[in-house]
């Protein structure tokens, strides 16, 4: 007997189909991988490579996903969830900024610098942040990626270089491979339709 069908499930399936292109996985994996290699080699060019990855997801969605999957506008409930995910993103960026700004402020004011355990705080923040995004975006793999990102931060804090860099690289490769597998499956499942299908009138 097929699984239960509900309108909620139909909407969730439509929403999650946009994450079955593997682009976010490839992006997150590549970020971690290149970050690991950069810290191993101390080559600043890798920082530029990381920055060049930023347009991968929006461009990929536009050029690969939408032409294969079609275009959709979701209802108000989903838009609200997306808004919450964006708010979580902004808050977390501000929180990280504050975490790094704090030592600078203490140094400039001449006050003794309190011993802030940056690495465990960062690891916990990363895991929570990915968890919040996974929840609001209904993107389950993000829970696992949050744990991997957090773990790489803990290992980095505990063992430093090169163990931390190697761990980061390995975890990056793991996420990247998952992303590539999902991406290839997506391409096989959703080949490009004949031209003009999105423009078909009923």
């Amino acid at each position: 007997m097929p699984g239960t069908v509900s309108l909620k499930e139909i909407e969730r399936k439509a929403w999650t189909s946009y994450f079955e292109d593997g682009l976010w996985d490839v992006f997150l994996g590549a970020m971690l991988l290149i970050g690991g290699i950069r810290s191993l080699t101390d080559n600043v060019w890798y920082t530029l490579l990381v920055l060049s990855l930023v347009p991968v997801v929006p461009l990929g969605k536009k050029l690969i996903t939408i032409p294969r999957l079609g275009y959709v506008k979701f209802g108000p409930g989903r838009k609200l969830k997306l808004g919450k995910a964006k708010a979580a993103l902004v808050i977390s960026v501000l929180a990280v900024f504050a975490l790094f700004l704090l030592p600078v402020l203490f140094t400039h004011s001449g006050l003794p610098l309190p011993g802030i355990p940056v690495s465990p705080i960062m690891a916990a923040w990363i895991a929570v942040f990915f968890g919040v995004l996974a929840y609001y975006l209904d993107f389950k793999r993000l829970y696992a990626y949050g744990l991997l990102y957090g773990m790489s931060e803990v290992i980095w804090g505990q063992f430093g270089k090169p163990v931390g860099s190697v761990a980061q690289t390995i975890m990056g490769i793991a996420i990247l491979v998952i992303g590539l597998v999902v991406f290839v499956r997506f391409l096989q499942r959703f080949p490009l339709p004949p031209k003009g299908v999105s423009d078909v009138k009923a």
């Binding site: 439509a14 079609g70 959709v72 506008k73 009923a202």
Partner: protein, 110 residues
């Protein structure tokens, strides 16, 4: 309010089912569009698993009934035909779900 007469079918919710929506392919299309704001032809094709011709024919019937609104939009520079349920379509689908619920709620225990 007058009591429905026996044998007239007035008290039977099954006679009240919207047969236009009841057809499985159209029910699938209506359910998809009910939970979304709007979608293009390709997205509906992917989600429902219907073929190009099949989907086109069912959409035509829904549009003729006034359940579906077809609107030309531009996404960037590319034209997109977006499909959405009209108020009439939303009401009809809601009514359909209520009727079906009623039918199954009234099933006698075996």
């Amino acid at each position: 309010m007058s009591k429905p007469k026996a044998g007239t079918g007035e008290d039977n919710p099954l006679t009240d089912i919207d047969t236009l929506i009841h057809e499985p392919a159209r029910l699938n299309i209506m359910a998809q569009l009910y939970v979304l704001e709007s979608a293009d032809f390709l997205f509906l094709m992917r989600q429902t698993g219907l073929t190009f011709g099949n989907l086109s024919s069912h959409l035509g019937k829904l549009e003729d009934a006034g359940y579906l609104n077809v609107k030309k939009e531009f996404v960037g520079k590319k034209p997109h035909t977006m499909l959405r349920l009209t108020e009439k379509g939303r009401t009809a689908f809601h009514r359909y779900t209520q009727t079906m619920k009623q039918v199954f709620d009234e099933l006698p225990d075996r």
